[in-house]
Structures are given as C-alpha cells and as structure tokens.
Symmetry: C2
Subunit: 453 residues, 2 copies
C-alpha cells in the first residue's frame, strides 16, 4: 500500500471515531476512486456501508464498486434497494458485471441481469459463457470499433460524438461490413493523419489478435511481448468480440505469481485472506500430507529395523524424519506467506506487528495439533509417556520458532530493500533441521542417558 | 512463446539451412520487430549477425535492438562499424540506451555516449545516476509535456507538429513556466474538448506522481492500483523528469515473481539461463548449505548418541538427515525451475524434451558430486566401504529420480492447463522422503541383516 492511501485511511479512521461524517464525505469525494475502494476494504462491515453512501454521484460509486473485491461488492449491494443496484451496475463495465454476477447468489444475480438494458443483458450473458481463464472470460465488450471505409475526419467526429465514457480508447479497431477485424490505428496516429484520408490508407492491416478461447496466460504473454496497451479478441465467426486491456493482463500475471508462491510454499491460499482461520486452513493440507509421510517413514524404520525390539531411546529416533519434514514445511510456508504479503504491498508497521501476532497464534495452534498427533502416534507405538512428551514439546517449540524466523527474515530483508536471496530459505531450513535434530537427540540423551554406552 | 513466433522461427531456420537469404529478408521485413528479436535470440551468434543485417531500415533495426536482452545487444553492436552503432543507438529510447550503456564495457559505452547529440547525452548521463531499482532508473525521459497556458487547439497543433515518434502519448502532462507538473489530460479528453478552451480548464489538476528515488516496486503498485498506462516522475526540484509506462511495470512485476520463485525454490538464478552450466551453478549454493547442515546433524548424532561405539548399521543412520534434506531440496529446486520455464512461456515440445535431457544431465552430475561428498564423509567417519557405497548409491538415485519427477509434474499439470496445486510439492517431498528412508534403511538391513535382532 502506498503512503497516499495509508494517510487517507488513517485520517478517515480518526474522523470516524469522532463521528465527523461531514468531513469524511469531503475527503471521500475528492479522493481517487481506487483509494476509496482501499479505504472501504480496511473498514468493518457497518462502517463500509456508511462510507459507501458518502462516495458521491452514482458514476463514482460504480467506479468504486468496480475496484472492490467480489465478496465486498456483494456485501455492499445486498443492503441497497433494488433501483440503486440497477443504477450502480449499469455504470460498470460489462466484464466487471459478468464477474460480479458470476459470484453472486442466484436470486440476486438474476434480478440484476434482468434489470440491465437489453443490449448489456446479451453482452453479459455472452461473457458468462466463457471460462474465467480464457480471453472471452476477461475481455471487455465495450470496444471502440469503426468501419474501415470512414475518412480520418469522420472517425474523429464519430469519436467525439460517442457518448459512453467507459470505452477503451488507446487503439481504434477497424472492422469491415461483416464486422471482421481488418485494421488498427492508435489515437495518436489518427490525430497525426490528414483529415481527408481514408482509414484504410492509414491503418496497420496486420492486427495481432486473440480468440475468445485463447488461454488467459497466452494473452498475457502476447501483450507483454509486444508492449501492447490492449489486444482485440475475435469470436468463432471472426467478428470483433471485445478487447483485453493491459490492466487485466497485470492481474493475470499477479495471479500466476501467487499460484507459484502457493505451490512452492505449500500453502493452499495466500492472497486476500491473511486472517487467522483462513491462514490456518490453508496450511493444513500440506501439513497432513507431510505428517502422513513422516508416519510412513516411521513404519518403514519400525519394521525394517525391528524398532519394537530395540531400546526405547533408539526406537524413538524413528520419528526423526517426521520432525525434520515438518520443520522444513513450516519454513517454506511461513516464508511464502511473508513474501506474498510483501508482494501485495501490505508491508507497513501496524500490519507487520499484527501479522506476526497472527502468525504466532497460527503456529501455536499448528504446533499444538502436531504435538498431539506426534505424541499420540508415539504413545501408540511405545506407550512411553516421556518419549511422547519430548516429541510433543519439540513439535511445539520448532513450529513456533521456525514460523517466526521464516516470517521475520523476508520482512527484514524487504525493509532493508533487499530481495530475498537464494540462500535465505536454505539457511532457514539448515538452522531448523539442525535445531530439531539437536533438541530431539539432546532430550533423549538427557532422559535415557543411563541406557547409553 | 506464442504460435506466431514459433512458426516464424521454424520457417526461418529451414530457409537458413537452404541459404535462402532473399526469402528470409522478405519474412523478417514483414514481421513484428518483437518477433524478429525472438527469432534472433533463437539463432546462434553467426546466424544472428547475418539476420540482423536483413531487418530493414535503421529505425526498424533500432526497435529490434531494444527488444533484445542486453548481452545480445552488446554482441550485435560489437561487430558493427562505429557510424552504424551511432545511428542505431540514436534511434533507441533514452531509457533503453541508459540500460545498454550501463551493461557495456567502458570503452564501447564511452564512444557511444560521445556519439549522441548533446541533449540525449545529458539525458542518458542523468539516467545513469539513478539506481536500476528506482523510478529514475527505469523512466523514459522523452515525455510529452505541454505548457498549461495553451488552448486545446494549440495543444493538438503542437502534438501534430511533434517530430519524434517515440514519445509516450497516452497522457499529456502539463507543466507551468517553472517546469512543475500541474496537470494531466488523456489524448481522448483532449480530442473531446472544445478547441478554444484553455488546457487549465480541461485538465485534471491532481496528478498522482512518483519521485526519481521512489522504489521500482512501489511504482509498480501505484500503476497497478490505479490502472494507469503511465505515471509521471518528478525530480528533486519538483520538475517533470520522465515517465514510466505500463510495459516497464510489467517487467518489474515479472522480476519480482522470478525473485520469489528463486528464493523459495532455492535456485540462485533461473531466468534467461536454462543452459547446463548455468543451471548447475545456480543450484550449488543451496546444495552446499544443505550438505553442511546434514553434516552438522550427523555430528550432533555422532557425539550425543556416541555413534563411534555403536554397531555400524546403527551409526550409519546418522546420515539420514543429510539424505532427507538433500532429497527435499532437489524437489524444490526442480519444481522451481520447471515453473519458471512455464512462466517464461518456454513450454513447447522440442524445448521440453531438451529441458528434461539437460535436467537429467545436471542431476546426474549433482548426484555424483553429492555421492562423492557423502561417501567421503562416511568413509572418514566409519572407514567402511559398504556404508559409503550405500550412501553414495542412494544419493545418485534419489537426486536423478526426484529431479525428473519434480520437473515432469509441473510440466504435466501445465500441459493439462492445470495450475500446480498446493499439494503438488508436498506430495513430491513425501514421496521423495519416504523413498530415501526406505532405500537407505532397506539397504542397511540387507547388508547388515546379521547384526540385527
């Protein structure tokens, strides 16, 4: 989050506490709609409803709504009267409306869909047909397309007469009488051309385009490669169906990056949801897998090394692979969460301390669960309380400490404006591995010292 | 890489083999300059020099040059006569020239700098002052700025008279007589305004801007948040110094994502360099760290469990943490490399098989090194050839198999258009962990079965 937005949020919060809604209204009316959306996100549900009413004319409120994540769009719309919902949705781009409708409960989405003017209704219904991962699912259907037989001055005239404000106007796409895409022209090129020339004479005829079923990932690669501001989308009949703009492409790239972080960090869901339960749930799947793996390793050792016939201090070492695997996982998961938080721009002091507190809570609960599981498993295997206690204790201690270090290290590097280096996580996992080996073997040595030599 | 580019490359390669340079010239002259750059990247050094000469007029060659990575820019320029270098560099944007000069050897960069016209020389020298991670280091100084006291028709006139083709023309930035940034106007808004109005009446006065020392990461967040096409940069004196466009922002976001992959995957360098030695070198730092960690764990076990006095089969288990850590690392590293390759758009059949071959080579050499190290360490500890052989054998087998699975799994998922899920790497590390435990303990059981019971 940039400093502008931070200042906005903190001043509105102060005014909110004093109930100074007149002043809030003044601030909110002057701020950029993207900033207002950030502000709304940071408020609680009731404050959000109150503040949204202060945003100003319907046009501005539609814009703010477009910037909000879909769950908050739904929350805000739910409380409004039907007529107002219709006005607000009518002011949004069709691709945003399609996204919104796709995520709303059936009843609300049907009533919104019916309230749209016929033309928009068809466009939104069209958009809903396409997968969210394809060009059709992310394109905007409000595209500035002109017939190729116009003259330059006609074209300028026609743009000036165009009422809609939401049309995408970096490039003008030219279509022939069958609505086929035949050329492209930037607004600047149009401005620089002599008024009496035909568009066919000044346009570039070889338009790089994508199809409605082109995967979103490929669209991103094309826009990125050619440094485009937008790319036209054609449908099955070769007709111009819409346009994908560079800001949608940035979203695709961010999502890919988050997917990678999630996969490598072994965290189920890291974006949007830095809350306690969200974070706890997102780490469970991998933890369960690694725990099961640790138990399998134990069973292998149990049978192959006949651990049932060994002295207890030796047999308990069969749980070492489980401890090591879990230590390693905690390191990856916490580093991935911290990196994701940094990338989302969530790095400022209040958030950091809150985040570390949440992480301590999560890792305590995580550690406790693992302690119970490991303690239980070892109790089943050996029926010895001391071994179970040692294992449980180490599970708690290592989970909490590694989680804290794993979070602090990337955050520390980021505040020093250093990008996390290759060695960071390796060092972390060496430290965590050696620590858990030392703790475990040390504790066993301490308690079963007599059995040694 | 998109299908367009792939077709271009394969047809030029065929023509190249037949020596049909006339035909290559025709293709290369018609292709998009970004595609020509991709083509040049895929050729060897000599073919690249030959093909670059066929690109057409100097203006096009400058564009192609801008799209090339810096090491290839240098390679191409080195062989050209001095006058031609000057022409080509003069046709590039100042920010690209600054990047190029920053990466060239002193002698060449000085001669290029001297060859520029005085104004460009100063601009490039200015740009070189700023860090590559700050707004100043990535901005383009050729910005369309107009005085705020012009009328709308004067402004259109002035844009039409502007000779330079490279100026960024999505927004027009307005400055007062002190060169301070006072407003912004989109080209479309200009076109829609009545000709006799003053720019001050139609502009938006509250321009969101960054400073030359704003970190690149923050610039990216701002452009992303407000869906800007570009953001103006002001210097220490509040004067408009340049502009950062959305395509530069996409580069910043990609780099951040690559940094994260690198950090979490524990690979030193994954972009640009998928070559054998590059890949081998990039994995060494983490492998050394994890190996040292494994040895520390062994020493802990050695002293605390008095392994020197234990039967050999038991003592050798002290190397289990090292084996497990290395297995886990191989899984992360290979998955990170595969993901990075997918994100760079390098996923097509010929490249995949080449990649898997390279990976097999790398992991064989990696495995061999680790085998020698582990074998050597265990020989030092126990002086028993059989234990050393077992450890060495498992190091080789697990490194190669895990590397292959770790590469194949994400690639397989990507060809199925599925994003790698949270469980992917966890499953991989469970499989690799259990496998290496089973192999190791199984082998020991087999060889030292007599010592059991």
């Amino acid at each position: 989050m940039d400093s502008r937005t931070r200042v906005l949020i903190s001043s509105v919060r102060k005014l909110m506490r004093r109930g100074a809604f007149k002043n809030i209204e003044k601030i909110v009316c002057r701020a950029h709609t993207a900033d207002v959306a950030s502000l709304l996100e940071s408020l609680d549900s009731e404050e959000r409803q109150q503040t949204f009413k202060l945003v100003g004319p319907a046009e501005r409120r539609s814009e703010v709504l477009s910037y909000l994540p879909e769950d908050l769009q739904e929350e805000v719309l739910r409380t409004l009267p039907k007529e107002e919902i219709q006005t607000l949705v009518a002011g949004m781009d069709t691709d945003d409306v399609a996204d919104l409708i796709g995520s709303l409960p059936e009843e609300l989405s049907q009533s919104i869909l019916k309230s749209l003017v016929k033309e928009d209704q068809e466009e939104v219904a069209d958009l809903l047909r396409y997968s969210q991962d394809s060009a059709g699912g992310i394109m905007n259907t409000e595209v500035l397309a002109l017939r190729d037989d116009l003259s330059v001055s006609d074209a300028i005239q026609s743009i000036q007469n165009h009422e809609s404000d939401s049309l995408v106007a970096h490039y003008i796409y030219l279509i022939n009488k069958n609505s086929n895409l035949v050329g492209v022209l930037s607004l600047k090129e149009l401005l620089l051309s002599r008024p009496n020339r035909k568009l066919t004479e000044v346009m570039s005829p070889d338009v790089i385009r994508v199809r409605v079923d082109t995967p979103a990932k490929e669209v991103a690669q094309i826009v990125e490669k050619y440094d485009f501001l937008s790319v036209p989308v054609i449908d099955e009949n070769n007709e111009l169906a819409g346009v994908i703009t560079v800001d949608d492409v940035i979203d695709i790239i961010r999502e890919e990056a988050q997917d990678d972080l999630r996969a490598l960090g072994q965290v189920a869901s890291i974006e949007d949801d830095f809350s306690f339960w969200g974070q706890l749930a997102s780490r469970l799947p991998s933890q369960s897998l690694i725990f099961v793996g640790g138990m399998l390793s134990f069973l292998v050792a149990y049978w192959l090394l006949s651990l049932m016939d060994r002295p207890l201090w030796l047999a308990s070492l069969g749980f070492l692979p489980a401890l090591l695997g879990l230590a390693q996982l905690t390191a990856s998961q916490s580093a991935a969460v911290a990196l994701s938080m940094i990338r989302e721009g969530e790095l400022h002091r209040r958030v950091i301390s809150e985040h570390l507190l949440t992480e301590t809570g999560i890792s305590s609960l995580n550690g406790l669960t693992l302690a119970l599981l490991l303690g239980g498993a070892s109790w089943l295997a050996f029926g010895d309380l001391q071994v179970s206690q040692i294992l449980a204790g180490i599970a708690i201690v290592q989970t909490i400490t590694i989680a804290l270090i794993g979070n602090l290290l990337p955050i520390l590097l980021a505040t020093l404006k250093v990008n996390p280096r290759v060695g960071t996580i390796s060092l972390l996992s060496v430290v965590s591995g050696v620590t858990s080996v030392t703790l475990f073997i040390g504790a066993i040595r301490l308690y079963y010292g007599v059995a040694f030599v």
